[in-house]
Symmetry: C2
Subunit: 137 residues, 2 copies
DNA sequence: ATCTCTCTTTAGAATAGATCTAGTTTGAGA
DNA sequence: TCTCAAACTAGATCTATTCTAAAGAGAGAT
């Protein structure tokens, strides 16, 4: 796991306590938090980050490519510091959103695609279903 | 293309001029309209559908499965009357959202997936890139 | 050490998409 | 024709996000 300071510096962003804390939190969670969940978590112990700064920072990190927006639920915007190619699974019962390994689906970027999409920037598979935990209850 | 009246009736929904018009419009467009675009189009000639009714109707149609929500852009909620399995392509330059044929990616629902997702309800591939039109300009 | 300039943070106002409310209209069935 | 539940409506409300304008912070210059 790369140090947040290094990542921020590489992108030419000043290292501030708020940016450091937000990026570090996103790096260490797997829940793909919403902006509200980021605010909640950061200010749980010691309030030090305003609502506006969380939104500003998330947008800044997204602009420089350090986090990705995950937009597969109506009205819910999540953030993901895992920027390696991967897929997502959403449980329709509990709402959990999990990573799926990139290699799970083989090579998706093949010839036939270029008819409609000559330049591919990103491919992602979204799987909706019921997770193991929800199935067994 | 199935008649909207028949689809509504099958789902036990009353056939109203508003529901008929909204479903018919969605059936005949390929742009995956937002709620605002539905309102705009329906009231272009003869205003007859309120904002609240468009939202109510879209939610009703979604609840009975006659339309799907398409939620792949931050803050943008689109509607799709094509409920056959298919994938989507989004052009990062012009924002166009197009259907991709289901058969384009072969069988995605294979054994390895069931480890994390024992019950699969839906699989969809999202491709982001540059469309032919935007590439050639 | 002080100044300066730019970037960052902040509280609160504003915006916009979606939902809710309460009253009205509609039409199928008695 | 009457009744009643479902559907429609205008406008109020809600809520996630963005905007605004002012304060803070820090790197380099003097
Ligand atoms: Mn992820
Ligand atoms: Mn579609
Ligand atoms: Zn679950
Ligand atoms: Zn394009």
């Amino acid at each position: 796991m790369v140090d947040p300071s290094m990542l921020l510096e590489r992108k030419g962003l000043k290292i501030t306590p708020q940016r450091y804390a937000i990026l570090k939190f996103l790096q260490h969670t797997t829940i793909h938090p919403t902006a509200d969940e980021v605010i909640e978590q950061l200010n749980r112990d010691l309030p030090m980050t305003s609502r506006a700064t969380v939104y500003n920072t998330l947008n800044t990190l997204r602009d420089v490519g350090l986090v990705h927006e995950v937009t597969h639920e109506a009205g819910v915007l999540r953030y993901d510091a895992n920027i390696d190619p991967h897929h997502h699974f959403i449980c329709s019962q509990c709402g959990k959103l999990e990573d799926l390994d990139w290699k799970l689906f083989g090579n998706l970027n093949h010839e036939a695609l270029s008819a409609q999409c000559p330049v591919v920037e990103n491919i992602e598979v979204i799987v909706r279903g019921v997770c193991r935990h929800c199935r067994n209850r």
